[in-house]
């Protein structure tokens, strides 16, 4: 999904529009509590060093609320770099320390590839759908 980079022609607001255009590549974070005991966190957009802190905050928040079985749904993620991987590894570590778990839903080739290259497919349980993840 391409970001909108259309700027206002008004000189005073031109800079701000330009900046906002790229900021619109925001991270979507939706929590679904209907799959108890699992909490499903659906992530959408691009996860990089700019957006990853929001994912980290959300995971920390869920864990602090006592949600210790988390499924992170990456089907809406268009881009994921090592910063995003780091946040997911951090989340898994945090959950394991509470005897919980963090599993992933991912079928997108380009995202799966990042896990494969880094060997993280051996660390995470990766499922083809949320249904599979919550019935595992």
């Amino acid at each position: 999904m391409a970001a909108s980079v259309i700027g206002s022609t008004h000189q005073d607001t031109h800079q701000e529009s330009w900046r906002k255009g790229f900021r619109s590549m925001d991270l979507g974070l939706e929590v679904d509590e209907s799959r108890q005991p699992y909490t499903v966190l659906a992530v959408a957009g691009e996860v990089d060093v700019y957006t990853a802190p929001r994912l980290r905050e959300k995971l920390v928040e869920l864990v602090s609320q006592g949600k210790h079985q988390i499924v992170v749904d990456l089907e809406g993620v268009d881009f994921l770099d090592s910063t995003g991987l780091g946040v997911l590894v951090g989340g898994l570590k945090r959950l394991r320390s509470h005897d919980g778990d963090l599993s992933l839903v991912c079928t997108r080739e380009r995202i799966l590839k990042v896990f494969e290259i880094t060997g993280l497919t051996k660390v995470f349980s990766i499922f083809g759908s949320v249904d599979e993840a919550v019935s595992a």
């Binding site: 391409a2 970001a3 980079v5 259309i6 700027g7 031109h14 800079q15 330009w18 900046r19 790229f22 900021r23 590549m25 691009e46 990089d48 060093v49 700019y50 881009f79 770099d81 090592s82 910063t83 991987l85 780091g86 946040v87 590894v89 951090g90 898994l92 570590k93 394991r96 080739e109 380009r110 990042v114 290259i117 880094t118 060997g119 993280l120 051996k122 660390v123």
Partner: protein, 175 residues
């Protein structure tokens, strides 16, 4: 061998601009080179990793202070008949890429204590050649992907300076 500069771009050392570099480099690579989409995605990820490192390096060189603005990250894309090179340069203190600590193996429970350190291995894996050049004032990461040009005329060099936002370029032109 003929080598042409096709894109030059400066971004402020701020994480929000990495998405711009990804977008622009992927657009240039996809439009000008005969590369499979998958290779363009690989390059995009490598570029993102290199920019993340460059921004971090610049910040460690000049800690945030109103009197010492952080240097921009400089990006260049070069074309040759058989390859595309993306160069990302910072003004940081430099590092030895061979001495970056590798995370423990995944079978080691300690692995979960390493949330970082994947960027450079990823860059090395994703592009055909990655060179980390220590310069007097910073580090240059040169990432090469092999692949010929898409048929068509050369459209010249695109110069962008996002670090001076007073004159934002239009990304709409040229598709």
């Amino acid at each position: 061998m003929q080598r042409n500069l096709v894109l030059e771009l400066d971004i402020p050392s701020s994480a929000e601009y990495i998405a711009i570099v990804r977008l622009v480099v992927a657009s240039v690579a996809g439009a000008r080179r005969a590369l499979a989409d998958e290779r363009v995605d690989d390059l995009k990820l490598a570029v993102s990793e290199a920019c993340t490192n460059a921004i971090e390096a610049n910040h460690s060189a000049s800690p945030t202070s109103p009197t010492s603005p952080t240097s921009p990250v400089h990006v260049e894309v070069w074309e040759s008949p058989d390859r595309l090179e993306v160069c990302i340069e910072d003004s940081g203190p430099g590092f030895d890429p061979d001495k970056v600590a590798s995370p423990p193996p995944f079978t080691d429970p300690e692995r979960l204590n390493f949330e970082r350190g994947l960027g450079i291995p990823l860059i090395r894996t994703l592009v055909d050649n990655a060179a980390f050049v220590r310069k007097r004032n910073g580090t240059l990461v040169r990432m090469t992907v092999f692949g010929g040009p898409v048929d068509g005329d050369d459209t010249g060099t695109i110069y962008m300076d996002v670090s001076r936002l007073s004159d934002p370029p239009s990304l709409d032109s040229g598709g």
